[in-house]
């Protein structure tokens, strides 16, 4: 069915706005509207873009200047639908940006009954999100307006896109007057004590990630089961008296059984180290804005650890997380699917590699397709080069029942064999995955194999 092009209130469809580049910006149709203005689909010299056009209340010189600065600075990465050009006409203005490509959907879709993030997707989405914030914070800016509406996810690939970037501004300053979205704002903003800054970004980001993983809101639980959410209650819930739904010392605000069941379901699915990070930000981090909130690097560690500890259930093939906390408590890892024969049973866990860099330790589950990355071996991981592959799990071509880790670096690795002899693993050679391999020396790191 061909829908009639939608007409907005600010620009007329078919209207051609002259641009500085000399090519007209032709308005095609209204894509959406919000409190700040309207977004149109436009055609500039054959290229389709989105044009956000501000209403009278929003279009200020400060906003225009800020937009021009953002454009001048350029997009921090391809995860942002960054402003491309300011377009002006008759004292009004707006800016162009890319159109959200097909396949991307609002992150809010995780709240629909059919879409949820798997462990791998959750880790991938959150890592991109955290890394995007890192790139903004590294420029001395903060995002300020974190909410579900600004994040788009390709639920097939796990790729993300962040839009509405015009609210990005220097630490502690708000250009558009936007101070955030209710429920995502840090308590100190709700209480009127602070303007948005990198610290409040850390809180908002945690709320967004909590929603992505656990579906419900981290502060809105049983306490509010019988409240009308009027401003007084909203302020209490998010600002003056916030209480984490999974607070370990106070269970009075747990997600409502049945009604907010998803939060219970998904909380139980995640390993302790993920829950610990969220518990920190929503307990200590509610009041101690300076030291209580996990930093971006902490979140990167958490979600990389999640990625590194996934393995397929030997019974059903679905992803299971190797949670050392559970393992220490129960001496086993089980499949979480109630329909699997491995449910509640001790699963055969793949070999693990325990890597030590200085005094930092990490355990990586070695699956048949596991890659080792530079960041796992480096003392001070370089963000840009951290994703470089330095090793990969391979099968021994002479004996397919045996596995090893191929050295993808230019250095020679070493290990001590069963007989006590030090052996070399030169580039492109494979270190055998065997319990008798000791004292692995990756040059920048040492390691042990656990089978």
């Amino acid at each position: 069915m061909n829908k009639k092009p939608k007409q907005g209130k600010l620009l007329t469809n078919g209207f051609a706005i002259p641009t500085i580049g000399g090519v007209d910006c032709v308005v095609e149709e209204l894509l959406g509207k919000g409190g700040q203005g309207e977004v149109y689909k436009v055609n500039i010299g054959g290229q389709h873009l989105a044009l956000k056009w501000y209403n009278e209340r929003t279009r200020t010189q400060a906003l225009k200047t800020s937009l021009e600065e953002l454009i001048e600075m350029g997009s921090p990465s391809d995860k942002f639908l960054w402003p491309i050009q300011v377009i002006e006409c008759q004292g009004q203005f707006g800016y162009t940006m890319g159109i959200i490509p097909a396949g991307y959907e609002s992150a809010q879709k995780v709240q629909s009954p059919t879409v949820k993030l798997t462990y791998k997707m959750a880790a991938k989405v959150c890592l991109q999100l955290v890394d995007s914030f890192r790139k903004i914070h590294a420029k001395g800016l903060c995002y300020q307006d974190v909410n579900f509406g600004n994040l788009f996810i390709n639920f097939q690939t796990g790729d993300i896109l962040i839009c509405d970037n015009e609210n990005i501004a220097p630490h502690g300053r708000s250009i558009t007057g936007v101070i955030g979205f209710q429920g995502f704002m840090a308590p100190e903003i709700v209480r009127g004590e602070h303007m948005p800054d990198t610290q409040t970004d850390l809180f908002s980001l945690a709320v967004l990630m909590f929603h992505l993983l656990f579906i419900e809101h981290p502060l809105d639980g049983a306490r509010y089961a019988n409240s009308i959410m009027d401003p007084e209650m909203v302020r209490k819930c998010y600002g003056s008296d916030p209480l984490f739904v999974f607070d370990p010392n106070d269970d009075s605000n747990r997600p409502i059984k049945g009604t907010q069941e998803n939060a219970h379901i998904f909380w139980n699915l995640y390993p302790q180290f993920v829950k610990d990070a969220f518990t920190q930000v929503f307990t200590m981090g509610l009041n101690d804005r300076n030291k209580g909130r996990p930093l971006l690097q902490d979140w990167i560690d958490v979600f990389r650890k999640l990625q590194e500890n996934i393995f397929p259930c030997p019974h059903c093939g679905c992803d299971v997380v190797y949670d050392t906390h559970i393992f220490k408590q129960t001496q086993q890892i089980s499949c979480w699917r109630s329909s699997c024969t491995g449910f509640g049973q001790k699963l055969q866990v793949p070999p693990r590699l325990r890597i030590k860099v200085g005094n930092r330790e990490r355990v990586i589950v070695l699956n048949t397709d596991t890659k080792l990355f530079q960041y796992q071996m480096a003392r001070e991981p370089d963000f840009e080069k951290g994703g470089k592959i330095v090793g990969e799990v391979v099968r021994n071509p002479k004996d397919p029942t045996k596995w090893g880790i191929r050295n993808k670096t230019a250095e020679t690795w070493q290990f001590v064999s069963k007989s006590g002899e030090t052996k070399d693993v030169s580039p492109e050679k494979a270190l055998p995955l065997s319990a008798s391999v000791k004292n692995i020396d990756f040059k920048t790191a040492t390691a042990e194999i656990r089978i």
Partner: protein
């Protein structure tokens, strides 16, 4: 394992949404007949797709709407319906009276705790549209409405249609009389704009749980749209400026 399998296996349930109820209270006294009631019908028809678009994007709030007409007494025009299923049937205006008091009393009956439960809802939005002075006991209607918890917490917006509307009376209905006194819709375009604003923008503010900076318990209302002419519009005679 693909996403569907994963979702099925987790046992994930549908998110339980908070309900946002939007009520349209339409004056159908004879003085509304003709252009005014036509514009009200038109505005509501036009605003439904916008509300449906908003609803489709919101997985945490369920918007339900219900319409009432009042003239000689008051009666529900529709049942409470999810916005995605809502269809508007035109109302006619031929009543010999303007029983606004009866409308408010009927609204109060709707908003009892027995009817709506104790909570986990959002403040309802009630839009009262009238072009005249109440012909019955307006005061007692207001008292009944405010006696209900949901009635007190409701965002109550009045639209005064045309020059003869009793704005002083309507002012008593408004939940935020200072910042949002009765909207004076003195022409057709203003009427459509104000119905759209009160329905879409106000309910957006409620569902996003906006709070003001002050400590009071008033939901800050988004500013009314200014009358603007879209850039690039053909400048024709403005036919919308007739006082009616």
């Amino acid at each position: 394992m693909d996403n569907n399998d994963f979702v099925n296996e987790t046992g994930a349930v549908e998110v339980s949404k908070r309900i946002l109820r939007l009520y349209w209270l339409v004056d159908v006294s004879a003085s509304m007949s003709g252009k005014k009631i036509g514009e009200v019908n038109y505005a509501i028809t036009e605003v439904i797709p916008d509300l449906q678009d908003e609803a489709a994007k919101n997985y945490t709030v369920q918007m339900n709407v219900r319409a009432m007409k009042f003239g000689k007494g008051a009666a529900w025009h529709t049942s409470e319906t999810k916005i995605e299923n809502f269809e508007w049937t035109y109302v006619d205006a031929d009543a010999p009276r303007t029983d606004t008091g009866a409308a408010l009393a009927l609204m109060a009956e709707e908003l009892t705790e027995e009817n709506l439960g104790a909570g986990r809802g959002l403040p309802p939005v009630i839009i009262l549209m009238s072009d005249g002075e109440a012909t019955d006991d307006y005061e007692s209607g207001i008292q009944k409405l405010l006696a209900q918890k949901w009635g007190r917490k409701a965002i109550r917006i009045a639209i005064a249609i045309g020059a003869d509307a009793d704005t002083e009376q309507l002012l008593k209905f408004c939940s935020n009389p200072k910042e949002c006194p009765p909207i004076e819709a003195t022409n057709a375009r203003k009427l459509v704009d104000s119905i759209t604003w009160a329905s879409v923008a106000v309910s957006q503010s409620v569902s996003q749980a906006k709070v003001g900076n002050s400590e009071d318990n008033i939901i800050p209302l988004p500013p009314m749209p200014q009358e603007t002419i879209a850039l690039g519009a053909e400048t024709t005679e403005d036919e919308d400026d007739d006082v009616f």
